[in-house]
C-alpha cells in the first residue's frame, strides 16, 4: 500500500509568500520522475501555495530550468 505522507504545507511552515522559480533544486521536489507536477493530495500543499507552485514550475519549464518530460520508460 502507498505510504501516507504528512499533510503539512511546507511553504506555510516556512512562511513563504512567493515561490521563486529560480531555485530549481527546491522545485524538483514537487515533480514526479517523469516531470509531472505532484498533486496536492500527495505533496500536502495548501491550495494557495499549490497554485503558486504550479505557476513557478511552469515558468521554470519555459526557461529550461526543469524538464517538461524526463525519464520516459521504454
Amino acid at each position: 500500500m502507498l505510504h501516507r505522507k504528512k499533510r503539512i504545507c511546507r511553504f506555510c511552515e516556512s512562511g513563504d509568500v512567493f515561490i521563486d522559480f529560480r531555485d530549481e533544486k527546491r522545485l524538483v521536489r514537487f515533480l514526479t520522475e517523469q516531470g509531472k507536477i505532484v498533486p496536492r493530495r500527495t505533496s500536502g500543499n495548501c491550495n494557495q501555495h499549490q497554485r503558486q507552485l504550479a505557476q513557478a514550475l511552469k515558468r521554470a519549464r519555459h526557461l529550461a530550468l526543469i524538464p517538461f518530460v524526463s525519464d520516459i520508460p521504454r
Partner: protein, 174 residues
C-alpha cells in the same frame, strides 16, 4: 501605472561567447530608450539547459530588472527584439508582484541575521563576500563538467574495444 518588470533571456554562446555582451547591451539600450529605468542586471552565467532548445544544450542566462510605466508597453518591444534576434534562445518578461518583493526582503532578513551571527566572529571583509550571490561559481562548474566528458567517453570506448578484442581472442583460442 509604474510597474516593476523582470526580463530573463537565454543567449546562445555556442559560436561566440561575446554575444552575451552585445545582446545584453542592446536590450538595456532598448529599455532605456523607451523610458524604462534599469534597476538590476544579474548574469546567472552559463548553464546546462534541462532540454535542448534549437539543438543547443547550454546557454547563458541574463536577467534584467527594470521599472517602467505600463503604458510604454516595453514587454512588447522587448518581445519583438527577442524574436528578431536569433542569438536569443528563450526569453521571458513578467511583472514582479509585491509578494515576490516581500519574499526577497524576508530572505534577505534571514541572510542578514545569519551574517550578523557570523560577523561577530569573522572580520568585515568576509561579510561582503558572503553577500554576493553564489551563481558566480556556476559557470566554472559547468565548464568543468563539460570538458572532462569527452575524454571519459573515449576511455569507455577504448575499454569496450579492448574487451571485445579479448573476447575475440578467447573465441579464436577455443
Amino acid at each position: 501605472m509604474e510597474k516593476l518588470y523582470s526580463t530573463i533571456f537565454i543567449v546562445d554562446i555556442s559560436q561566440n561567447p561575446d554575444e552575451v555582451d552585445t545582446v545584453a547591451s542592446r536590450i538595456q539600450q532598448l529599455i532605456e530608450d523607451h523610458g524604462g529605468i534599469i534597476k538590476k542586471i544579474d548574469r546567472w552565467g552559463k548553464r546546462r539547459l534541462a532540454y535542448s532548445i534549437n539543438k543547443r544544450t547550454h546557454g547563458f542566462y541574463v536577467e534584467i530588472e527594470f521599472s517602467a510605466n505600463s503604458r510604454l508597453n516595453i514587454p512588447q518591444i522587448l518581445e519583438n527584439e527577442y524574436r528578431i534576434n536569433d542569438r536569443v534562445l528563450r526569453f521571458m518578461t513578467y511583472i514582479i508582484e509585491k509578494e515576490e518583493l516581500i519574499q526577497r526582503a524576508k530572505n534577505a532578513g534571514k541572510l542578514k541575521s545569519a551574517e550578523t551571527a557570523e560577523s561577530a566572529e569573522a572580520p568585515a571583509e568576509e561579510k561582503k563576500i558572503s553577500e554576493t550571490r553564489p551563481p558566480v561559481s556556476k559557470p566554472a562548474e559547468s565548464k568543468e563538467n563539460t570538458e572532462p566528458e569527452t575524454p571519459k567517453v573515449e576511455e569507455a570506448k577504448e575499454v569496450e574495444e579492448t574487451e571485445e578484442t579479448e573476447k575475440k581472442e578467447e573465441s579464436e583460442q577455443e
